[in-house]
């Protein structure tokens, strides 16, 4: 097949805010298809793969990491301004992920004191949030990290001019499609699968383990109170359940209010 001339290829960039760079790594993990796949794009910036970077208008920007500092926020706004499509990759970019675990429970000042021994916000830190809190996001690929197949399918869909297909149903669906025994029902394990976005093919229940929620709750759908009830009934203490829910989803509205500190000194 003849490759399209380079000026016809979509110009893309992959950017990192606060996170572990795991999502960029997952893109690179597409080893078998990576070269051919990326050759269909013109890569203008990809921190984890190359130090080369060009500051021009992009067709698609992929952003991983949460907004956790003023610096992240400035960078994000700049990326948004110069990109036609903005795709959040990974939970951090989608909803803040583990960095948001203690949001509305401890203030930035307390965290500074705990970690750096000073109360001053010398790093201009913000409460960690997903990028959608600040700018318009066109598509979100959840996961901690993202599934490489999902990255592949997203890139293919975008190339073909289709919106990417991201599951908006819970892990339970994948358990049933695969016939995996339900670990809540059969073993009373504290599975978060009923409220967590599918797409991992129920990886944990497939091994007899309970889902810890690494793909984050389903936006606009998750019934966090039902999860609290279901696990309470099986004898788990509230604190345990709330911490578990907060682990990957501290910013999720229904979960955020669980265990919120009433006299929070937290900014914002």
């Amino acid at each position: 097949m003849k490759e399209p001339a380079s000026e016809n290829k979509p110009k893309i960039g992959v950017f990192s805010l606060t996170g572990c760079a795991g999502d960029q790594l997952m893109i690179l993990n597409l080893e078998d298809t990576l070269i051919e796949l990326l050759s269909k794009f013109e890569i203008k910036s990809f921190q984890e793969a190359s130090s080369y970077s060009e500051n021009i208008r992009l067709d698609i920007a992929f952003v991983e990491g949460s907004v956790s500092t003023e610096h992240d926020l400035e960078k994000l706004k700049e990326i948004r301004d110069k990109s036609s499509l903005l795709v959040a990759i990974g939970d951090c970019a989608v909803n803040g992920c583990v960095q948001a675990m203690r949001n509305s429970q401890t203030s930035i000042a307390e965290r500074m004191l705990d970690v750096y021994g000073v109360e001053d916000n010398i790093y201009r830190a913000l409460e960690p949030k997903g990028i959608g809190e600040y700018v318009r996001v066109d598509f979100e690929i959840p996961g901690c990290p993202v599934e490489k197949e999902e990255v592949f399918n997203t890139l293919i869909s975008l190339l073909n001019g289709d919106p990417p297909l991201i599951p908006d149903y819970p892990v339970c669906v994948e358990c049933k499609l695969n016939g995996y025994p339900c670990v809540i029902i059969e073993e009373g394990k504290p599975c978060l699968g009923p409220i967590i976005t599918a797409g991992c093919d129920a990886r944990c229940p497939s091994l007899g383990l309970d889902c810890v929620g690494c793909r984050g709750p389903i936006k606009g759908e998750t019934n966090a109170k039902a999860e609290l009830e279901a696990l309470r009934k099986r004898g788990y203490p509230d604190k345990y359940i709330i911490n578990r829910l907060r682990f990957f989803a501290g910013n999720f509205p229904d979960i955020r209010i669980l265990g919120e500190r009433k006299n929070s000194k937290g900014e914002k």
């Binding site: 293919i156 908006d168 149903y169 819970p170 339970c172 499609l177 016939g179 699968g193 019934n223 009830e229």
Partner: protein, 333 residues
């Protein structure tokens, strides 16, 4: 014509069944639920099972399957599975559920995939004992009159076998040496066992007029109460032997010219089920979806329920929503 098979001869009978296709039967491996899987060794067969989590529907309408190979230049090519299998040990409720699915996938909207699987599969029913979740006597599905090739009724040390199709008859002919004519005494035993079994049902649901009652109860508080504890996880639909919704998607390969169309089971409890082009969702809330599910299950058409009383949706709901309880609440107050 009724035949009789001694339990001691079951293994030999299975051996003969293998001539007709790969035998699948209920098995429970350590740490798993009962499931229909290939019977590699007749010692692992568990004909006295309660229920499989995933109904035998999975052989006809597969949980996920590839439908077409897509090719921009050459068009599409169907991927039809016409392998021969024998399903041994299907309960009456699940056979009746397949009969309901036939009405949709063979009569109303002929589906080549489903039909081919159905034609290539031999179904051998087996009698069962109810547990506290079974209510198939209430839904008129505790006994199978059609939709199987053979049906085995357990009595003491043997099975009384009913023949339900020509293929069933062929199996009987092949197994001549193993099968005896059922004597009048055997028939008596068979009837006694059936009557005994009926007495063991503890769960009952009055379905008379239930479609009307549901219609009149759209604002009953029980819907919201249950929607509040429901996850919208879809498990209830995905384990249901009569649920037939599916979703399809195309996946393209790197060349953007070839790809595959897949389908997977869908669930009306999931938010996207009611989502249509343009972003409109005609069942946006969980309470609407829950109400819809109960309505659907209680009315396939004017003359038929869409539920065979297998109890799965209650057993496998992580929120412990009890299907029969909800319907009783709606019907009784």
């Amino acid at each position: 014509m009724y035949k009789k098979l001694l339990k001691d001869d079951l293994e030999n009978f299975i051996f003969i069944l293998k001539k007709f296709g790969v035998v699948h039967a209920p098995v429970r491996e350590a740490g798993r639920v009962y499931e229909f899987t290939e019977l590699t060794d007749s010692k692992i067969l568990q004909l006295n099972y309660t229920r499989t989590m995933i109904p035998p529907k999975k052989f006809f309408l597969k949980p996920k399957e590839q439908l077409y190979i897509l090719n921009r230049r050459e068009g599409f090519k169907e991927i039809v599975d016409d392998s021969k299998i024998v399903l041994l040990g299907v309960h009456a409720c699940d056979i009746n559920a397949l009969n309901l699915l036939d009405r949709i996938y063979i009569d109303q909207f002929p589906d080549r995939y489903y039909k081919t699987r159905r034609e290539n599969t031999i179904i051998i029913g087996v009698s069962c004992k109810p547990d506290e979740y079974c209510f198939c006597t209430s839904t008129n599905s505790s006994y199978a009159l059609e939709g199987f090739d053979l049906f085995m009724h357990e009595i003491d040390d043997s099975y009384i076998i009913r023949i339900g199709s020509l293929k069933g008859f062929q199996i009987v002919c092949e197994s001549e040496n193993l099968l005896a004519e059922a004597s009048s005494n055997d028939i008596k035993e068979f009837k006694r066992a059936e009557a005994e079994r009926l007495k063991e049902f503890t769960l009952h649901l009055n379905v008379n007029g239930i479609q009307d009652i549901l219609d009149a109860s759209y604002d009953h508080p029980v819907w919201q109460e249950n929607a509040d504890i429901c996850f919208g996880c879809g498990s209830c639909n995905l384990v249901c032997p009569t649920c037939r919704c599916y979703d399809t998607a195309d996946f393209l390969n790197l060349d953007l010219k070839t790809g595959v169309r897949v389908r997977r089971w869908d669930s009306c409890m999931l938010k996207q089920h009611g989502l249509v082009a343009g972003g409109l969702n005609f069942r946006p809330t969980r309470v609407e979806r829950l109400y819809n599910r109960f309505n659907c299950k209680m009315s396939l058409s004017e003359d038929s329920l869409n539920c065979v009383g297998c109890g799965r949706c209650t057993v496998y709901c992580p929120a412990d929503i009890n299907f029969v309880e909800v319907l009783k609440q709606v019907g009784e107050d």
